[in-house]
Each structure stands twice: as C-alpha cells, then as structure tokens.
C-alpha cells in the first residue's frame, strides 16, 4: 500500500488576491457576482459541470473570496461551452457565462491556462484569422489548433476532413470578406491604440 497521501489545505488571507474579485467584477456582465447566494443552480444546470474540477458555484464563491490562482488554473472556465443555461436559470440574475468569459480573458492575460490546452489556442487562432481576413475558417483554425496542441490527433482527423472537403463543407482557402477590408482592420487597430477604451 502506498504511503498515506497528506496534503495541507488551509487558506491564509494573505494568500488571496483581494483585487481579483474587483477585476472580474469590472468586466461587463460580471458585476453582479456579489449577488450570488450559492444555491448551486448553475452547477446543476450546466451540461458539463460533471467534468469540471470546480463547479460554477465554487468558481463564483472562490472568485468572490479572491482565490485567483485556483480559479484561473481551473479547467472550468475552458469547459464552459457558452450554452447560457446558468445565466438563464440563476435566481439572482448573475450572468455566469459572462463571468466565465471574464475569467477566460484574465487567464489568457495572466498566461494561467494549461499548456497545450486546446481551447485558448483555438480562441487565439480564431482571433488572428478574423483580423487577417474578416472571416473565420473553421477547417483551417481547427487544423492549426490541433497541430499546436496535439499533432498526433491530426492523423485521426484526416478522414473527417476529407469527407467535409468532398461534401463541400470545408475549403482550403479562406473566403475573405468583400469590400472594405481596410475598414475592419482600422477598427480593430483603433481598439488596440485606444487602450483607455478597454
């Protein structure tokens, strides 16, 4: 029998980030976090909470209490599929899906997400593609994502890719938006140069 697993679990107040809940609450839709009464409806209605290391309810509790590390490193925020069930069911009107978005953004800013975890990579690829062409290309983005996170998996995906190609449901080139592409880029650049807007 292996040795008894002993882990110390106590939280000193100084280990918490008092500023964290404020940063989250500053994001649109996340301001109502404090209203939470910890009823757990969000976790119960969430289609994927059974896979989460922290249920949505605990994410809210811990965010509010300043458990920044634990929250940003949890798989919960990346498993959120944006189905908005929690937002619709929350008895206190908390936009939990928006809270998850806010946490995703903070996790990316803080580079706190697990390496090779596909969701943030997918998000980044998507982001770049749209900036370049004004449109996304699911096939290409997915391919790059798989390459960056788990190249072996690409082999497994070849049959699906071929099938989609044959059915005309995937193209190797990106359809670009027509007309004023410059305008879109200017718009995005403007957001970059006007950080005060963010």
């Amino acid at each position: 029998m292996p040795g008894l697993q002993i882990q110390r679990r106590v939280k000193y107040q100084e280990e918490l980030d008092a500023d964290f809940p404020r940063r989250v609450a500053d994001m649109p839709g996340a301001a109502d976090l404090n209203r939470c009464i910890q009823c757990g409806t969000c976790s119960a209605t969430c289609p994927v909470s059974s896979f989460m290391d922290l249920t949505p309810r605990r994410v809210v509790a811990m965010t509010r209490a300043g458990f920044k590390e634990e929250v940003l490193r949890s798989n919960t925020i990346w498993l959120c599929a944006s189905c908005y069930s929690c937002t619709v069911e929350c008895p206190k009107g908390i936009k939990i899906t928006d809270v998850m978005y806010a946490l995703k953004r903070l996790a990316i800013q803080e580079r706190a997400y697990p390496r090779h975890f596909p969701t943030p990579v997918l998000a980044r690829e998507f982001f770049h593609k749209v900036r370049q062409t004004g449109r996304s290309n699911e096939g290409q983005i997915a391919t790059v994502m798989i390459l960056k996170t788990n190249p072996l998996k690409l082999l497994r995906q070849i049959p699906l890719g071929l099938k989609l190609l044959v059915k005309g449901r995937m193209s190797l080139w990106t359809e670009k938006m027509s007309g004023n592409k410059r305008q879109l880029q200017d718009l995005l650049d403007y957001m970059d140069t006007h950080k005060e807007l963010r």
């Binding site: 679990r9 106590v10 000193y12 107040q13 100084e14 404090n34 910890q38 605990r58 209490a65």
Partner: protein
Amino acid sequence: MSQSPACPRIGVYVCHCGMNIAKQVAVEAVTEFAARLPGVAVARHYKFMCSDPGQELIQQDIKESGLERVVVASCSPLLHEATFRKACAAGGLNPFCFQMANIREQVAWVTADKGRATSKAKALIAAAVERVSRAQPLERKRLAVGDKVVIVGGGIAGIHAALTIADAGKKVYLVEREPTIGGHMAKFDKTFPTLDCAACILTPKMSSVKNHPNIELMSYSEVEKVEGFAGNFKITIQKKPRYVHEELCVGCGECVDACVFPKAKFPSEFDEGLALRKPVYMPFPQATPAVVVIDPNTCLQLTKGKCKQKCVEACQRGAIDLKQEPEQVEVEAAAVIVATGFKTFDPRGLPQYGYGRYGNVYTSLEVERMVNASGPTGGEVVLKDGAKPRSVAIIHCVGSRDKKTHPWCSRVCCMYSLKLAHLVKERSGADVFSFYIDMRTPGKGYEEFYDRLLEEGVHFIRGRVSHITDWAMTKAEEGKLVVSAEDSLIGVTRRIPVDMVILSVGLEPQPDAQEVRKKFNISCSQEGWFLERHPKLAPVATFTDGVWIAGACQGPKDIPDTVAQAGAAASEALALIDKGYVEIEPNTAEVDPEACSGCKTCLGMCPYHAIRRDEEKGVAVVNEALCKGCGTCVAACPSGAISQHMFTDDEIYQELEGILSYV
C-alpha cells in the same frame, strides 16, 4: 346525590356520521337496543345528528314526547357537546341533562370487527343512559369583569399593547422594572430591514405612554403577587425606591452635575458598559419617565451612609429623598398581559470566542450601542485604542443552534447581523466578513435586504467559527484577531485576520422567567419561554384565563412579530372586558360544610389556588370562578366532603353500572 324516585324520560339519538360510524357500527341494531333500556322513551338514528334537521329531531322530541334527559351517541364531545347542549336548551331542557357517547373516535374508527364495534357502542350508550338518568339540572354562573389591564414589561410589546388598550378607553397599569421603559429596542440604532431609526419610531410611542390619560406608568416597579381570576385580578405591585420623587423631578440633571463623584465611574447599563455613569443618573436622554434614579449599589450615602449629599442640595425642587422606602400598591385588573422580553446570551460561556479576553471582541448588543449616534462613541465604530477597524468579523449563531448552549435558532440574529454589517461598513469602511451557518431571512423585505448586503460587498463565509485567537501563524496575522472557520462552500479551512469581532449573541429567556411564570400561574416550555395555549391557534393566550403573553418572552422574535403579538394580546384582553362577564362552567367542586373538618388538605392540592379556608366557619370554600373542575380536591378530601358537579359519585357509579351490565 339523591335517588331519583321515578326514572326520567330519556331520548337516545344514534348518529351515522355519514358512513364514519355506520360502516362499522350496526346503527339500527344499536337503536333497537337503546329503545329497550330503562327509562328510554325515544330512540332514533339519523345520518347527521349535528345537522340542523338532526338537532330539530331532539328539540321536537323534547317538546312532543316530554323528554327529560337526552343522550347523543356520535363523535367526541370536543366537537359537538356544545352543539347538542344548545339543541337541548332550544327544546326547553336544561343543557346539563345531556350526555354524549363517543362511538366514532372511540368505536368506529378504532375497532376493526363490526360485531365488536356494535356491542362496544351498545355498552357506551347504556353507560350514558344510566349516567344521564342521575344528571342534575345545573346553571352556568356569570361574573362581572372589571375594565382595567395590567401590562408587565415596558418594551415595545408592552408599550404597543398599552397604547392599544388605552386608546380603546380602558385603564392600563404598565409595570416596568427598569427605571425607564423602551426595553431592548431603545438601545438599537437602526431596525432591519428598512434601516429606519429605532429611536425615531420608538420614542414617540414612549412619550405617548407617559402622556396618555389612560395609562399609569409604573417604572422601577415589579409585580409582587397576583390574586383573583380572569376578569377580577388583584395585583400587588412593588415600587422600588429610586430615591427620587418621580412627581417632583423634571429631569434637569442638576443633581447629576452636583454628585460628589466628579466623573462618571460606573458602567452604564443602558450603554452595555461601554460608557460610564454616576450613582445618580438618567439612563439615556429620552428615558421615560424623564426622571433620574439613584443606584443604591454605588451611591456613597446609600452604601456607606456617608456623603455630603450634594445632589440633595442641588435639587431646587427637593425631589431627592435618600430615605425613600419601597412602596406597595394594589390594583384591580380584568386582564394581564405579560411582555417581559428576553435576555441576550452571555458569550463568556463560549471562551473559544475570546469575549472578555480580547478587548476587541464585542457582543452584538454592545455594537448596537456603538453604532448608535447617541451612544458612547457617537456612532463611530472604533477599536479599544480608538482606531477605526479595517476589517471586522461578524459571527452568527453565538449561543444559538448549539446543544451545549441553546438548541434553538434565535430568529433575529441573521437579520441584525446583516444590519450591523451594513452599519459597520458604512461607519468605518471596514471589510466585513460574516460567518454564518445558514442565512435565515424569512420576512417581508428580509431576503431583499440580504441581497442588498451581498451587493454591498460583505464577504459571506458559510461556516461556523471554531475559535478566535491572537496566535499569529503568519506575518499578516500578527497583532490581529484570527478567525478560523471552514469555508464550507469553497471546501477549505480559512484563517481570516481581523481587527474587531462581533459576536451575534442569541436570545434566551429572562433569568427569572420561572418566578414570573409562577406569579401569573402560566406555563413555561422546557427552555423557559412562556407557553402559549396553542402554538398555532392560540399564540398569545395562556392556560390561565385572563392572562396573555406577547413578544419575546414567548420565544425569540423580531419587532414586527412582537408588535403583532402585542396587538393580538391587547385585543383579546379588550374582548374580555367588552363582553363584560365571564361564564363559569358548572362542573365545579363544592364543599359540604357539614362534613368538612377544616383540615386544609385540599388547599395545597388545588393547582388553581381556588380553595380557601373560611376562618370564621373553619371550613374550606371553593371559589367557583377559579375552579377548573379537575377533581383533585374531591379525591383528596379525607372526609369525603367535596363533590363535583357533573361528576357526582352517583353519576359515575351509575355509568359504571351501565357499561358493565350490558356487555
């Protein structure tokens, strides 16, 4: 009693109660059986005897067949004895010439075999017939009642009840043992969930009490003795000496300034010891009556008999009288309302919370004074060293929901903790951590108040605090009070260093609840809360007629519930007065003076203090107004001198005869 020469004419009515009785009991056979019993002139069965046609059957038979006694075999007398007595009376028969046989609850509902049920019903009817043949016509007596009410306790319950009754034009004696009325509510700054100022809503009522022509305010007084019965109580009240003539004092405070103690030195009761007072003092500026009081335990003259008595000199109206003696007053009252309130739990009983050891651990009541603008700190939330706290912990359920202290939920702590969290945050800007087991906010606008506090950013931690310590485990904990609890919603134990801790102490019965209970002959639950007659349907009545209870003396409750109860008690008391009389059931005991030896055995046995000894004649006398007909004295009397109406030996023997002869 006397043997009746001729057997009276008896009518027997067997009720089917729909199918309730008829499906188990062969009602026709039972009726035939009853018809053959001695003295039975009429025997009938009917679907519903309690219905109007059923009652008319009885009335008609009384008139047409000249019935002299009636037996109805149906349900429990609790349900319809009064109905059938009325029917008898309407038919012209004395209502006590009636007997009920319970063949529903005692037979049909509990006997599986139909044959056995039927013979059981027969036996019960036979018993009733035998018994009723010996019944005597009796009269209900009426006693006139007075129109005054004594209210004990001058908190918000007593104040509200007093004003309600006085406004109805009846005289009220409001007895308060403290030097001022106002109770706990007077100490609060704000009230939940509306956050309106407690003083602003209470002090106008206090001065109305003082100025009301129908209210006689007896502060610094206690009820000594209660005699009499509903409608006619005689109550002895002791006025404690306040060493000041109330009618002369105008509350100018000259005496306080003149007191030989140059500075206030003794902890103020009203300020929960957070401020000091002199031996002569006014409890608080809006005290009602606005009369000073001299504390016999700290006044030099009263303790040591040696003082320059500067106060006496200073009072131009000559109101101070250091030789004042206790005074007894006897008043008459038709009704009594007991509204003696509660006491808060003393957290010294839970040393793990450090109250008394760490200066910055306060009780919630102390903080109520602290946040009060007219309190010892002028409404500022400050630490013992005068600094403002940067973080404050509020611990719910201190002395509640704990088998080792009190098992009950004190009902008000969650809400007042929320209120204090709001006030502390508002006054000091501190981070507030609220440790709760369950957040209980059932009340109008209460959950919304909790929502508001959540939005104000109070840190709510679900978990009961194990201990409060100054044992620092990290640098940040040094110089702080560390609160340890499991954050049961996050699933980790947490240590939170704070500057100040507020213990939300629970409510408990007054320490002298037992004595008060005995004085008024009311009951207490095991915990010491006064017992209502019925927890749902008679929440302010007691088992003693004419005595009502209101407010937290009955159990923990908040101001709205307390006021509602006070109003209920007041209107029940008014209903008694308005009726003008009390009717006494004739099932009382009666002493045969010829047989009584005057041994006084019965006096001690009577639970209702209804028997006294007529010293002149040397015999016991039963006060019919107090007698409840329990029969204890009848059984106890060694001379067999006491009998009880409706339960004479003759009736009981005859009933036994009936039940045994026909089975």
